[in-house]
Structure formats: structure tokens, C-alpha cells
Symmetry: C2
Subunit: 495 residues, 2 copies
């Protein structure tokens, strides 16, 4: 019999290919329930998604995996195959820690909580939301405790590790502590500087026209509509799978500017997904590296690129055409450079955004370590908003602790990825400019594709073949270095 040399590795690949097919259906279910599903479909869908989660979990913890992985590690593999095997092992270990019954219970509770949250948030109904959040949090804590015991780390660190492998609250406290030392001063300084700047009225823009304009912008950024689509949902996100990326946004007719940058942000995520290595589709090594790296791509598009002068110059004539908007390039630049402390994280400018993350990081840590009860969350929120951004959110749950989808679906430990992503984005830009010259000049010269090409070559096409540190090191010559983000903000806002 002619046995393939790497039969154990090949068997693992086949198994994880199957898993990716079920994950495909899960991604579709997630997208659908946020963008399409009528509310009455939620109960049965929740049960179906929980069943699916349980099945995927059973596949990832199949008894054949441990011995097959051990055998595969003795086989002759090239470096990409070794990387894929490393990711397979990681997925197996991660799944094996948590019992299937907990996975199912978590999925069910998350669906129930999120479905209700969609309406409760509109109604500012904290009392309705609270017990659901408590259920979701209890399960998140149960998972955190199990993971913490298995990995010998703290419960909150065990949640962080799900989204950003290897990241710890100790390291985050260091990074965020650094931020806290200079960011409040910068915010004050920029606000002072912008105090006397003119304010421009945003013209009304119909949702239909914004939808067409959004497609223009996505096309400009190279989004492949043959492998994806754009819809609306109450909380914008990028979902689906690499071969079929599902973006959502929302349109505010009174202010198109936030939705527009939301689309640019989500398109950054989408470009990453669409650029993942074709040869590794369906394998763990073909997945996006981590949540921080994912956010680095959306924030690169939104912040580094989208709010820059050259990109806004590309948008300005299209804005005139699609939205009948007469804002000049200078006015757009003014609007998109404005620093204004506000309630809503997703609407925050680049400078105040990290404050929203600092708050959530502290709240998550406290919730998971039982130092904060859900019932005390609104007061904690308001106090932190007061201290960080001078805003009182008493009684305004809708624009306070009920604004985000993350906790409603049980994703505790995700928020730090946003600010880590902003830091990686700044770091990638510095490296890119060392090789290609100024990003602003490239775009002004019609070479946006060179910018995208660099991201494709250095980030997207790597999938998970490299570890996060290897990826950063190969792309930029160093691992995460928060100094670039500080430098970027100072240069853009206070120079």
C-alpha cells in the first residue's frame, strides 16, 4: 500500500476542513440574525446555533486528535505545514479546556441576551437587560475559571487569551498605564487648539444615497463584491467567511460622517479576510491572526488612511455627486480631525477612543474578578466617563453601558484588541513608509493600491502562518511598540 508520508497531518487537515464548513454555517447564522432575522425567529435560531457550537466543540475535542497531533509532529512537514499544525494544536487545546455543555449554554444565553438587547437598548431598559447580562456574565466567569485553572493564569487573562493569544492584563496595564500618562493631556491640548475652529453643518443625506456611496467607498478600497456584500444592522460588523465577507453598517440621515467612516473601518476588516491566503482556506493557518491584528487593519483603513487628507480628497467629489454634499476638502478634514469627548465608542475620534477602551478594560476586569456587580455597572461607568472624558452618563444606559454588543453576546476580554489594533496600525504605517515613502503622497499620486499591496504582502497573505510577534517582527522589525501610536497622535493632532 502506498501510504502518504504525512498521513496523520493530512488527516488533521481533513478534520479541520470539516470544522471550517460548520464554522461557515455559524458565521452565516450570526450575520443573518444581526442583519436579516425577524425577532420571532430568535428562540429556535438560538437553539440551532447552540447545537452547532456544541457540534463544532465535539469535533475540536475528538478523541483521535491528541494521538494524531502527536504522530503528526513526528512527520516531515514544511514550515507552513508546521505552522498549520501549531494552530491545529492550539485550537484543540483551547476547545479541550471547556466542556461542551458550557459552550452550548453560553451560545444559548448569548443569543437570548442579544436578541432582547436589540430592543432593550432602544428603550434604555437597563432593568430588563440586567438579568440577561448577569446570566451571560455568570457563564463567562465559569469559562474564565475553567480556562484559568487549565492555563494557570488569572480568570480575566484567560479570557484575553481567547482573542489575543499570550496577552496578559499585566502587560495591558503597562501599555494602558503608559497611555493614561499622556493621553488626557493630549486630549486637553487638542480641544484647546480646536476650540476656535469653525464648525460645519453636516447636510442631510438619504439612506439610499448613503448606501450607494458606501459601495463606492468600498470599491475604492478594493472590496470584492463578488465575494461579499453590504447590509445594515443595528451594530455594524464584518462577518461571514473569507470567500463571502458580510459587512454591515447603519445610516444616520442627519449625519452621514460617522456611518461613512464605519464603512471604511469594516472594509479594513473585510480586506484582511478577502486577502487571507487562498492556499490555506479552510485550515487554521489560513485564518486571521488575532483580534488585535484584525482591528489594526480596520483602524489602518479608518484612522491612518480614511481620516487622512489624501483619502478625503478622493472622497470629496464623490460626496458631492452621491450625497449632494457641498463640504470642501478642508471642511471634511476639519470634521474628521475634530476631537470631541462623547458617549459612544464607535463614534469616537482617534484621540478619545482609547479612553472608551480603558473604561471597558477596567470594568471587565472588575466584573470577572467579582470586584464589581452587574447592578453597580452603571455607576462605575458614569464615574469612569466623568473621570476620563468629563461626561456624566447617569441614567443614560442606552448610551452608556448598554451601547455595545460585546458583553451582550458574552465577549469579555475583546475590547483591549481595539487599542492594541490602533497601536499596531501606527506601527505598520511607519514600516510601510520606510519602504514605500509617505502614505499621503502615495494616495495623492493614485497609488492607493501600493498601500493595499503592502498590507496584503505583510499582513493579509500571512494568515496565521506566523505568530503575532513573528508577524509584527517580519513586517516592522519589532514586536508591538506603543510608541508609534503616541507619535502618530501627537504628529496628527498637536503638531
Amino acid at each position: 500500500m502506498n501510504q502518504p508520508a504525512n498521513k496523520n497531518y493530512a488527516r488533521l487537515c481533513e478534520h479541520f476542513q470539516s470544522i471550517s464548513h460548520f464554522e461557515h454555517l455559524g458565521a452565516l447564522g450570526d450575520w443573518d440574525q444581526a442583519a436579516m432575522m425577524p425577532v420571532g425567529g430568535g428562540e429556535v435560531r438560538g437553539a440551532a446555533m447552540a447545537e452547532l457550537a456544541k457540534h463544532i466543540h465535539s469535533l475540536k475535542t475528538a478523541t483521535m486528535l491528541a494521538p494524531t497531533i502527536a504522530e503528526a509532529e513526528l512527520e516531515e512537514l514544511n514550515w507552513q505545514q508546521k505552522a498549520n499544525l501549531r494552530e491545529i494544536r492550539y485550537q484543540y487545546q483551547q476547545a479541550n479546556i471547556v466542556p461542551g455543555s458550557l459552550v452550548e449554554a453560553k451560545t444559548k444565553a448569548a443569543y437570548r441576551c442579544e436578541q432582547a438587547w436589540r430592543e432593550q437598548r432602544n428603550q434604555n431598559d437597563w432593568q430588563g437587560f440586567k438579568p440577561n447580562l448577569e446570566s451571560v456574565l455568570a457563564l463567562a466567569k465559569e469559562e474564565a475559571d475553567i480556562r484559568a485553572a487549565a492555563l494557570n493564569i488569572s480568570p480575566y487573562d484567560a479570557l484575553l487569551d481567547k482573542f489575543e493569544p499570550g496577552m496578559t492584563s499585566g502587560r495591558l496595564e503597562q501599555i494602558f498605564g503608559g497611555l493614561k500618562s499622556w493621553l488626557p493631556g493630549l486630549i486637553e491640548q487638542v480641544q484647546d487648539k480646536q476650540k476656535h475652529q469653525a464648525r460645519y453643518a453636516i447636510p442631510h443625506a438619504a439612506s439610499d444615497a448613503q448606501a450607494l456611496f458606501s459601495r463606492d467607498v468600498m470599491t475604492l478600497l478594493g472590496f470584492d463584491f463578488n465575494h461579499g456584500r453590504l447590509d445594515t444592522s443595528s451594530h455594524p460588523f464584518c462577518g461571514g467567511v473569507a470567500s463571502d465577507v458580510r459587512l454591515t453598517t447603519r445610516y444616520d440621515e442627519a449625519d452621514f460622517t460617522s456611518g461613512l467612516m464605519g464603512v471604511v473601518h469594516e472594509t479594513g476588516h473585510a480586506k484582511y479576510e478577502q486577502g487571507l491566503p487562498l492556499d490555506w482556506r479552510g485550515q487554521p493557518a489560513g485564518l486571521a491572526r488575532s483580534m488585535a491584528i484584525h482591528e489594526s487593519q480596520s483602524l489602518f483603513c479608518e484612522m491612518q488612511l480614511g481620516r487622512g487628507s489624501a483619502f478625503l480628497a478622493l472622497l470629496q467629489p464623490k460626496l458631492k455627486q452621491r450625497l449632494d454634499c457641498n463640504l470642501s476638502h478642508d471642511q471634511l478634514l476639519n470634521i474628521y480631525s475634530r476631537v470631541t469627548p462623547g458617549n459612544i465608542r464607535v463614534d469616537a475620534d482617534e484621540v478619545t477612543y482609547p479612553c472608551h477602551i480603558l473604561l471597558r478594560f477596567e470594568a471587565e476586569k472588575a466584573l470577572v474578578s467579582n470586584q464589581l456587580a452587574v447592578s453597580d455597572l452603571p455607576d462605575f461607568w458614569s464615574a469612569q466617563m466623568q473621570s476620563l472624558l468629563g461626561i456624566n452618563t447617569d441614567g443614560d444606559y442606552k448610551n452608556g453601558c448598554m451601547q455595545d454588543i460585546h458583553w451582550a453576546v458574552g465577549e469579555m476580554g475583546y475590547f483591549p484588541s481595539y487599542t492594541l489594533g490602533a497601536m499596531y496600525a501606527a506601527q505598520f504605517r511607519v514600516a510601510m513608509e520606510q519602504q514605500l515613502g509617505s502614505v499621503e503622497t502615495l494616495i495623492a499620486n493614485g497609488e492607493l493600491s501600493s498601500v493595499m499591496g503592502w498590507l496584503n504582502d505583510n499582513i493579509w497573505s500571512k494568515g496565521s502562518l506566523l505568530t503575532t510577534d513573528e508577524l509584527a517582527l517580519q513586517a516592522t522589525g519589532e514586536t508591538l511598540n506603543p510608541a508609534h501610536f503616541k507619535q502618530h497622535l501627537i504628529q496628527r493632532f498637536s503638531a
Copy 2:
């Protein structure tokens, strides 16, 4: 230990509840690929759906089923539980006949063929479609042969049995032979009668306005938008699950009349799904009875009810309001009573429609029994259309043998259900009128809900608790009797 009395039966219920969750995801995938998915997503989706089909097949053929079913049959069950067990056994037997590898291959081939068909049909590209259809047909034949051997019936009968348990080509030849004896004469007679009737121009109607009007009509028919939605697709269908029914339609701006009755038709399917017994959701006994009964509900809505005078009187003022359409009630009635032989099955009137089914029934039988090659299908089609409806379809594949989705997705043996459904619809109406009086009078008196109530009580709420014959017998006092359909057509069109 306190053992439940029916522990084997309970275990089967739990198992089939799981299966229904995976089928939920399959229904979502089907709807999405027809209504939402970009073409480039098709390849990976096809693989995911094939994986899912294989998994569902493995659940339906689990080794525990045979002994557990045997044990459950000895347990004390009430009549509904016995009916559910009968349906469980039937599903197990059906699945057990066909190997999982064939299920997977069929799903893959169907997805590939259908995805390509969507564009090939637009392009009238028979040469492109032919090899895909040959692949799909080869697998359908393989399935037919396996089923035929197991059930000791002919291959084509084995396919019929999937959609209409117990139906045979012998019985269909008898029923359809009866049709052939009087239908051509009726068509000629009605055309002659209508020859001098005025023809009314259909006003242009924007798609957006038609979409709003479609929702009005669905609401009028009692569609529950909290448990379903309406979208567009190139081939209208009713999909999703009972708790979340997904209808699709298409809008022709030059002629809204066909799309409108398409919506009424699909809403008939949807009402059946939404009316299935809540207590049996997720169990085989809670599913719709058969394809013919399903079509009886859509055709009851579209033909018995939708094209009747009283229902059109309800629509007329709304048509004026939403579509700025000035057609009078008489003119609408004239339009919807018009009998005109045409190419397209889904656009056919009530009288010529069965001819489209006769053609497809003959073609399917011949294809499956190797008496007709795919390459000869267009000629066969054109000859039959010529003979049945006096229409030449030479070279017009798009409006000929490429018009339907059914064969593209490997559904051979489905088409007869449409005409069986029309016959059941006529039979149900007779029984309903014996109990409630004239349907036309009920609607004219604002009692459409009584009509729906009868269908709910006698058909929808029964799910699969009764066999098809039991259902017809309880509802109408007899099993399928094609005489009512003949009587209906004669009364409506030639009286």
C-alpha cells in the same frame, strides 16, 4: 432510579430535535444562497452545505436508531406520539437507503449546477448548462436505482416517493391520462370564448412600490412578519423554517400581475409553515405533510382564492393606492382569468398550468429511465410544447428546459406535486364550502379569516400527525379525487 416510561421514544425525540437544528441551518444556507449570496461565495458554501447534508445523513442513520425505534414501538404512546414515531421511522428508512457519500456528492453537484445556472439561464447558455445537468442527473439516477432496489419499485417511482410518499407513476399516468382527455378541449374552448374579450394594458409599477404592496397582500393573508420576511430571488420560493419563514419573489416593472400572484402563492406555502403545530416543532410529526399538500396550500391561495372575484375586490383599492394602478375590479378579474398558452410554467394560468407538468413528468420519467438523453431534452421539450400548447421553443432554452430550478438542484420527481396540489386545493374548497358556505361570499363579507381558519384547523395544524390519505379523508371525507379540479376549472372558465 425513576426511569421515564417512554425513554426510548424520548431519546428519539431528542435526537430528531438535534437533526431539526441542523436542518434549520441548511434551510438558512439554501435561502441565503438564492436570495443573498454573491456568486463568488458559491464554491465554499457548496462544500459547507455538502458537509452539513452528510452530517444530517449520519444523524439519520445513527446505529442506535434501529434498536431504539424497535424498543420505542413497544412503549405506551398516545396517538400523536405514535404518529411521530411513524414519521421518525420513515425518515430513518429513507435516509438509510442512500449512502452518505452519495448525499454529499449530490449536494455538491446541485450547488455547482444551480450557481452556474443562475447566469447560464440569463445567457440562454444550454451548452454550458448541459454537462452540469448531466452530472446532477447521473447522481439522481444513482439515487433512484438504490432506492428502487431497496423499495422494490421503479427508479422514477422511487424519486416520486421522496416528495409524495406512496405515489406511483402508474397512479399518476392514470390521473394525468384523465387530464389529457379533457384539458386540451377546455383550453381550446376557453381561448375561443376569450378571443373577443378586451385586453387591458398593465401599468408600469416600480419595484419598490411592488415590494410595499407585496407586504400589504401578505399582511392581508395573515403572514406573520415577526416570524418571517420577504426578499427577492431569481426563482421565487418559500424557505426557512416554521419559526422564521423566508419568502422570495421577483418584480417585473412592466407587469406586476405575475409577481403579485407569485407572492400570494408563496404566502400560501408560508401560512402552512407558520400554522404547523407549535407543540410538535422540531419533531418529524410537526413538519408539513407532503409536497402535494404544500402545493395545495399555495395553489389554494393563488388560484382558488387569489384569482377569485372577492379577493381581487380587496386588492383593487390597495393597487390604486400603492401602484397608482387604475385597473377596475372587472379588468383585474379579466386579467387574472385570462387563459393564454405560454412558455413559462410559473407564469401559467390555472388552465394551461397542468400541461407544463405533463411535459415535465414525461421528460423526468424518460430521463431517469434512460429513454431520453440530456442532449435530446431541448428537442423533446419543443415537441411536447408544440403538441400540448402549440408553442415552438426551438433554441429558446432560457424559456424552455432551462426555466426551472428543480432539475438544476437535482429535484427529479417533484413536478407532479404541483398538479396534485391543484387537485387537493379544489377538493379542500368543496369540503370547506360544505361547512362554511361559499368562499367568495365569506371573503366579500370580510371573513377571510374563516377561510384561513378552516385551512389551519384541517391542514396546517395537523403537520404530519396524519398520513396524506388520513388528512384528506378527515378534511374532505375522501382521498384524492381529481374530479373536483375538473369541476372547478369548468365552473370557473367555461360556465
